[in-house]
Assembly symmetry: C2
Homo-oligomer: 496 residues x 2
């Protein structure tokens, strides 16, 4: 008798976030839902900060309506979301009342599983969200963000899982956003959690594929007792995305582990997304191979491209190598935070500043806040000299308490501001949308009635004169309407 390994598919959220800049329109996902719902997944991840943001910023689509649609189309499968703890889906700490309202409304609109994480692994930043999820009766999953540093050990991660268990979570997720989790640590970590917390605590493993080793890590995690693993339908997988669901199913044949997935249904979904994928080619990541130097630098791909564009804006593109060497120093000064939104951006930007203007000569407000404890506590001590500079720069004192304890109730104020906006529909959902993305929500409320956009474009049958790989070459003759000296003419251009 094989032990069943459950599967969460991230095709409706993290897959297109990682591979096509979160641009997939709801209408391009809807046709696959029936097959996905029939396939036998433990859950389908379909909502999170970036998809919410993209909905209102790019797609003129109401993210709450997206959630209700998924719930309706997936009657047999849990819906799942990624929640940034006290940051909810935004970039700052919210007061507890807002966190609670968000969780209530998400549950009410159809969310079943809440994966709650904090970028610094400070469990105090998870408390309110997890308690709120428990209060709704939905599944509360606490998250351990996996990273590598001189201070991060298997034992410390296991201890964090135990603390999450004490907080009453229904399951623990090991979240490996940068594909740093190698097979042996994957085994040791799952084994350690199961031994310390008991076989009964569900362990869910989330890995990206970037470094090419993590399907092996999933195998080892399963051998160590992992209950649920994250994969993505193959049509949107690999590169900075995830391991293909079909490969996971096939990998387990004969091993004593088995998914309960109906592969034929997965193939139906794959066929759909394989058709959709080329419609978004302008958003698709170029990177489809593996990147293993992350193990050395610990700098995730998204962070790299951010820093590169910051340097280029200042005409300092040639100084990338210096920045890459600066990042580990900044990370060490900041107490070795995992590099994930928003800590990756904060550390990366400060590294760019240090290279361009001298070490900590100029400090971003966010980096000062990180150094002074306003994002929470880090696993290692911070560099006291840099903390002193942060105090000076930000004119603030360090804190050691839970950051949200400093915040006054803000729901009434947010409601008043939101309701004053043109197009606000009077609902708490709209107020939450505004609370999360105050810069973007006003335009979305105004234009919502125009209906959702689909940024995908059907491939055009080639009628161009140019072989794409050799610009300038005319493959066949072509007619242009051309203006010469102010006179319009139909002109035929032929290959030379």
């Amino acid at each position: 008798m094989a032990r069943t390994v459950e599967v969460t598919d991230v095709i409706l959220r993290d897959a297109h976030q990682s591979l096509m800049a979160t641009r997939m329109a709801l209408e391009d996902m809807v046709p696959a839902c029936e097959a996905l719902d029939r396939a036998g997944y433990w859950s389908l991840e379909c909502w999170g900060g970036a998809t919410f943001d993209s909905c209102i910023r790019f797609l003129n689509e109401d993210p709450w309506e997206r959630l209700r649609t998924f719930k309706r189309l997936l009657p047999n499968t849990r819906t799942q979301m990624l929640l940034r703890g006290q940051n909810i889906l935004g970039y700052r700490h919210y007061e507890d009342g807002v966190v609670e309202r968000f969780v209530d409304k998400a549950a009410e609109n159809g969310m079943d599983v809440f994966r709650v994480f904090d970028a610094l692994n400070d469990t105090r930043n998870l408390e309110t969200a997890l308690r709120a999820v428990k209060a709704t009766g939905k599944h509360a999953q606490g998250t351990v963000c996996y990273t590598i540093s001189p201070v991060h050990t298997i034992e410390k991660f296991v201890d964090m899982a135990a603390r999450l268990q004490d907080m009453g979570v229904d399951s623990v997720c090991i979240k490996d956003m940068a594909a740093l989790l190698k097979p042996q640590p994957a085994y040791d970590l799952v084994k350690g959690i199961k031994e310390k917390c008991g076989e009964g605590l569900l362990v869910h493993v989330h890995v990206h594929a970037t470094t090419g080793v993590t399907l092996v890590s999933l195998m080892k995690a399963i051998e160590a007792g992992a209950d649920i693993v994250d994969t993505s339908v193959s049509a949107l997988s690999l590169g900075p995305g995830h391991n293909p669901t079909e490969s996971l199913v096939e990998m387990l044949e004969g091993t004593g582990y088995d998914t309960r997935l109906d592969l034929a249904a997965v193939y139906e979904a794959r066929d759909h997304f394989a058709t959709i994928r080329p419609r978004y080619r302008e958003f698709l990541t170029d990177f489809q191979g593996v990147e293993t130097e992350i193990f050395k630098s610990q700098i995730p791909g998204g962070m790299l491209s951010n820093m590169e564009s910051q340097l280029k804006q200042q005409n300092q593109g040639h100084r990338m190598r210096e920045v890459l060497e600066e990042v580990p120093r900044v990370r060490q000064a900041a107490g070795f935070p995992p590099l994930v939104t928003p800590s990756s951006q904060i550390v990366g930007t400060q590294a760019v500043f240090n290279v361009m203007m001298g070490e900590y000569k100029v400090m971003t407000g966010e980096f000062s806040d990180l150094m002074l404890g306003y994002y929470g506590a880090t696993d290692a001590d911070k560099d006291p000299a840099v903390v002193a500079k942060a105090k000076e720069s930000a004119k603030k004192e360090p804190i050691t308490g839970r950051p949200a304890d400093l915040l006054a109730p803000e729901w009434d104020k947010l409601t008043a501001e939101a309701k004053a906006l043109e197009g606000h529909d009077g609902s708490d959902e709209d107020t939450l949308t505004y609370a999360m993305f105050p810069q973007v929500a006003p335009k979305f409320f105004r234009e919502r009635a125009d209906g959702p956009l689909n940024l995908g474009r059907d491939p055009v049958a080639p009628r161009a004169p140019v072989d794409p790989s050799h610009p300038g070459y005319l493959a066949q003759e072509i007619e242009y309407e051309v203006t010469v000296n102010g006179q319009k003419a139909k002109v035929t251009v032929s290959p030379a």
Copy 2:
């Protein structure tokens, strides 16, 4: 103390054969050789049937000179080749004297490790080649071609390995050309061979990456005792190619297994091939994801595209599904041969014929020969009714002996024919080139003096008016020299 796992890199042969139609010019490999030689590989695969063919067919490059160059540039690492047993590097059975001469000359020109396989796993077709390699004192590797069928079991593959051991091989290779080897069978197969043949018999595992599961299979093979595994420098890996070398190295960290590779040297080679890769973009495979339906159909990707083009030539492209259903029936009738050159082409073409003209109404000469034993014996019995039709069609009797036993000595005849060709340099090497590729060699001998071609092209800075993904769209203004009504004019066309 970690056990050392040795690594063969296929970047100089199978990687570009699988990913860029075998087109890489020697001069694009030479700059990486110093780093590859320093990295600490057990061997570097650098020669085989397709590279030999491509050298004389497309690159006007002497394959023997290629071998001598590699030998000179890789003083610290074994060179390795893939040899098709009695077929040498060609598509027919050669008389023993030709096989022996080829092996002698390959060894003399610098080949260290000979991986010898037969498409039907008929060990009689390996005998002469393996004996010849042993006589030169070089490394003789016997190969088990892995496949899936109702008759293929771990036990039978292990028995074949034991027969190869009895034949005196220095090592056994498990060759998984279609990425069908899943983790558990990989473990069972290596374990079975080690148990039956002793820990002392070196086991070398070759897998492709197509299905996405085979890095896990390498992990399991290593756990079962595999001594050497094949990977490829990441810049040319994945898709129908191989697992990335760097990922293998990282995967093993902390596991109790360790490669002795210098990753810094591998990265140097990667940086080189990452620069070279885009020069060959017109030959690069489109397919970079995973294809898991091969597990059901057992039809490798290359075979699929062959059959598709055959159907399309007959305006029967819409009958692909029927052909896909016919392939397993034809394979069963033929005694379940592994599908690898040339059996994959023979079975595929007959399946196309069956669909277009009725079952076995027309039989190709090669399929008749396969049915009548002229390629050797298969692991399962053949369909007697189809054998009878083959006899009738080919007007030949079935044989059960070793096919090469029917062949008369042919070296003198081949030499006479070859030496009569313009440009033959009088060497046995040239005669062997002619023997292997009699259609292609004459033109190569005539034109060899013109020197090697490099089919790679440096990317051109975009000066095109057309966004490649949206043909017809002008991204910037462009100047054309245009003839209107017979009059030449310089015309500027701007985006609409």
